[in-house]
Symmetry: C2
Subunit: 210 residues, 2 copies
């Protein structure tokens, strides 16, 4: 038994793997698996068992020697660590094809996220409904995001508009941004950004093709 490691700074790369562990555990739970060893979990994820044990050890002792990890228990613990014991409301900016696909995507709700505001600046789209949400004018972003106390936003606008949208989101109090626009955003140090760009991912792989 060790004293709690409250003061140790967890490397971001370790945090980034927790959602993958959680995803695998959700799958195992659905399969009805009750216990799993770090070796089995590692094989499913294509990583080393030592890495899983080391990663988890930043947060506590969740396993049992000789047995492994209880799937439900570890799931619960990782959810707590990632602050996924609540549902996070998310603002979506951009109601184009991608925005529509995101609003209709069924994978968010079960995993802790609900898109609850949608914005666009196209007068043709404003006022229209998608999946039960009225598209709001971009001019009301600050007001509505503040009102809903929203901390997370998804940017699905063209690259040319993304920095302006970002500045407005940050001004509205958003602290985490998932950015689909192919551009590096400037944000204050306390705002987190994750990037999703299929083109750069494809270009990464063509290096290895002939």
């Amino acid at each position: 038994m060790m004293p709690p490691k409250n003061k140790i700074e967890v490397p971001d790369i370790v945090v980034s793997r927790l959602p993958l562990y959680l995803r695998a555990l959700n799958f195992l739970a659905e399969e009805g698996v009750e216990t799993i060893s770090s070796a089995e979990l590692a094989q499913r994820l294509g990583i080393s068992s030592a890495q899983i044990r080391k990663d988890l050890s930043f947060f506590g002792e969740f396993g049992k020697q000789g047995t492994g990890y209880n799937v439900e228990f570890l799931r619960k613990k990782i959810k707590e660590i990632l602050n996924l014991t609540r549902i996070w409301d998310v603002a979506l900016v951009g109601a184009g094809d991608l925005g529509h696909a995101l609003v209709h995507y069924g994978g968010f709700l079960g995993q802790g996220f609900r898109i609850s505001l949608v914005f666009d600046n196209n007068p043709q789209k404003i006022g229209q409904e998608i999946a039960g949400l009225i598209i709001q004018p971009a001019s009301r972003m600050k007001e509505l995001i503040r009102q809903h106390g929203i901390q997370i936003a998804i940017i699905a606008v063209p690259a040319s508009a993304a920095q302006k949208v970002t500045d407005e989101l940050v001004a509205a109090g958003v602290r985490a941004i998932l950015n689909y626009a192919p551009i590096t955003l400037k944000v204050p140090p306390d705002v987190h950004v994750q990037y999703i760009d299929p083109v750069t991912r494809l270009q990464h792989m063509t290096y290895y093709l002939k």
Copy 2:
């Protein structure tokens, strides 16, 4: 002047940054900027100038002391390194909301990629047209991908179908997969996979939120 570094294995993490450099250079070229220093480029990307110079030095000497890099020249060189001097045909599997958004996305063509085949297994969708492409039955994947000599595929099907689709793509000769399904795929060592999962990215960020 150094001898060419043909035999040095370039770390994958270095390769993964080249598309970001290219993206920034494309932007600079459009702005009409002719020359840029590693320090300026670094600032735009939020990384260190030493990292940019080190990364590029794996592939050659592209800059000029006292001046920096010629934007057009470096752009051309990175395109050559990433095998982006041609257009890559891409097969898309899954014609749901995400599949539609990807087919309609205008960002692929200018960057070296063209979705030229679309598959689905839903009889309602097969035969329908999206953006000039007829949706083909999943049963014809192997045949058509072989016929077109396609090496790159995008998976936009539910997680439950993704591994089966992957196995079929690999059997058809695909060597690079961009996977939107939230599941770790099993592939042979010579097949490259990149993952895009907005949920895990959001869950990564909630760790830092309160």
